[in-house]
């Protein structure tokens, strides 16, 4: 987190700079089928975040040494496009992207029924086209929609949201300024049907009480995002 600072980001009525209350989400929309050549795909706009995800597979895993006898392998590429950030993001190896790719893969492997497709490979590509704060949540959520769009069986969708702390107050779904000057960020990946988790990260400084508040905000927000995901998958425009 960027650190405390003297920036006032929430007024005495609990209104945030962009007009939201503490528990409110930014605007979200989801569209499937946006990569015509892919087996499944999804665009998710969340505030001014934009992620595009494509899914290819199940297909033959090659080279053969990466094949598993009793399940499919899942490969996840998370990447930020060079024009996705205010300062241009240089293409190439990036430790942050590598870690997010890994934890996203860990989360998705927990729900995809990989054992149905031995020796095959499912490739999930997450591209952040425009970044605002919370891109890993947008990427993971959009990836689960794209997998569903590709018809890959899963035990549940994954909804990922983050709450955090600004000016010592816990709020849901930090925007860019709140992320820059905030004091903590708690992204979670939630299975909406059971409330269980497949993804969890956190950094900053939260007391045990603040931590519980942020946790609850995320749980609550997850069901609202879940509704939007379901609408997008049954054919609505996701607005």
């Amino acid at each position: 987190m960027g650190g405390y600072g003297d920036v006032i980001m929430i007024d005495e009525n609990g209104k945030r700079m962009d007009g939201r209350g503490p528990a409110d989400l930014r605007e979200i929309s989801i569209e499937t089928g946006v990569v015509p050549v892919a087996d499944g795909s999804c665009r998710m706009i969340w505030g001014t975040n934009e992620a595009i995800v494509s899914v290819y597979g199940p297909m033959e895993a090659h080279p053969r040494k990466i094949q598993r006898q009793d399940s499919a392998v899942l490969a996840v590429e998370y990447n930020m496009a060079p024009f996705s950030t205010t300062d241009r993001m240089r293409p190439g190896f990036n430790r942050r992207s590598k870690e997010i790719s890994k934890v996203t893969k860990d989360a998705l492997e927990s729900v995809v029924l990989l054992e149905l497709y031995p020796r095959s490979k499912i490739q999930v590509n997450i591209e952040i086209i425009s970044a605002e704060a919370g891109t890993r949540c947008v990427g993971l959520t959009a990836a689960s929609v794209a997998l569903a769009d590709a018809g890959i069986p899963m035990t549940d969708l994954v909804v990922s949201v983050a709450s955090g702390k600004i000016n010592d107050i816990v709020v849901c779904d930090l925007n860019k300024e709140e992320d820059n000057y905030g004091e903590a960020d708690l992204p979670m990946g939630i299975l909406p049907n059971t409330g269980e988790l497949v993804f969890l990260q956190m950094d900053g400084n939260l007391s045990q009480e603040e931590f519980k508040q942020a946790w609850d905000y995320n749980m609550d927000a997850a069901s609202r995002v879940h509704e939007i995901m379901k609408k997008a998958l049954i054919g609505g425009d996701g607005k």
């Binding site: 946006v34 990569v35 015509p36 050549v37 892919a38 001014t48 934009e50 595009i52 995800v53 494509s54 290819y56 297909m59 090659h62 590429e77 990447n79 496009a81 060079p82 024009f83 996705s84 950030t85 205010t86 241009r88 293409p91 490739q123 590509n125 591209e127 086209i129 425009s130 970044a131």
Partner: protein, 259 residues
């Protein structure tokens, strides 16, 4: 990029179609697929465009950085053009360092824009010998159903033409429009079934031979040529596609100028 085995059946099919003056998607030899151009699509870029040709979709985004001019050209800024085709855009693309194919793609689009002189690098100077703008044009593929070259070239020039130099953010003056003098455009031809066609689709590329890329300026001048892939062509064949490119670049230029 993994190399698929040459799909012989596809080649045979394409040849048969060509003999009957047909294409695999019913188009005529010189027909383009549906072309859609949008601009101002990327909130974090200083200029941007999205181009769709059939099921091929690309983005272009312009960013600016401050550079120190080269010692022998103290009054010049720079233009850098970078093309990325990541696994998002098709099952044949793999992560990792750029393949020879995507290096060629980026360099051919770059040359078309650079050599047309549409970006006057002298106009990018801020303080001679100390500071100048570097224009970075990033081309990014979303969905590759063939002919990424033309899609990138169109998206690139459209993004440049709307770009705003963010001088205020860098504290070196007031924001202003990037000067772009002209609209260089590329037309690409692929030999499929023994004859060149315009705007080849992915399946035509897969079962085709060589391709030729022609970039022409506003006055029909040639700024860049490239022949790629294995194949032999004659002077007559070349003359025919050059003739088509002269017409087609005019049409696309009108679409762009009316955006």
């Amino acid at each position: 990029m993994s190399i698929p085995l040459v799909p012989k059946l596809l080649r045979a099919h394409l040849t048969e179609l060509a003999e009957n003056d047909k294409r695999i998607d019913e188009r005529g030899q010189w027909d383009s697929r549906n072309l859609e151009i949008q601009h101002s699509v990327l909130p974090r870029a200083e200029g941007s465009a999205k181009v769709r040709i059939g099921d091929t979709i690309v983005y272009a985004g312009v960013k600016f950085q401050i550079m120190t001019p080269y010692e022998d050209r103290p009054n010049q800024g720079g233009l850098m053009c970078s093309a990325e085709v990541r696994p998002l855009a098709g099952r044949k693309y793999e992560p990792g360092p750029p393949s020879a194919e995507s290096i060629e793609l980026g360099r051919v689009v770059d040359r078309g824009i650079r050599e047309s002189g549409c970006i006057d690098v002298d106009s990018l100077c801020i303080i001679p010998g100390e500071k100048a703008w570097q224009v970075i044009l990033d081309l990014f593929a979303i969905s590759d159903d063939g002919n990424l070259f033309d899609a990138f070239a169109i998206a690139g020039i459209v993004a440049l033409k709307e770009a705003i130099i963010p001088a205020e953010r860098f504290e070196v003056g007031e924001d202003s429009k990037l000067e772009v003098n002209g609209t260089p455009l590329m037309c690409s031809y692929h030999k499929v079934g023994g004859r060149f066609v315009y705007d080849a689709s992915f399946r035509e590329e897969l079962g085709g031979d060589e391709r030729i890329h022609i970039t022409l300026g506003d006055n029909g001048n040639v700024h860049s040529l490239q022949k790629g892939l294995k194949g032999i062509f004659s002077a007559d064949e070349f003359e025919e596609i050059m003739g088509h490119a002269l017409e087609r670049t005019k049409e696309i230029r009108e679409i762009i100028n009316s955006l």
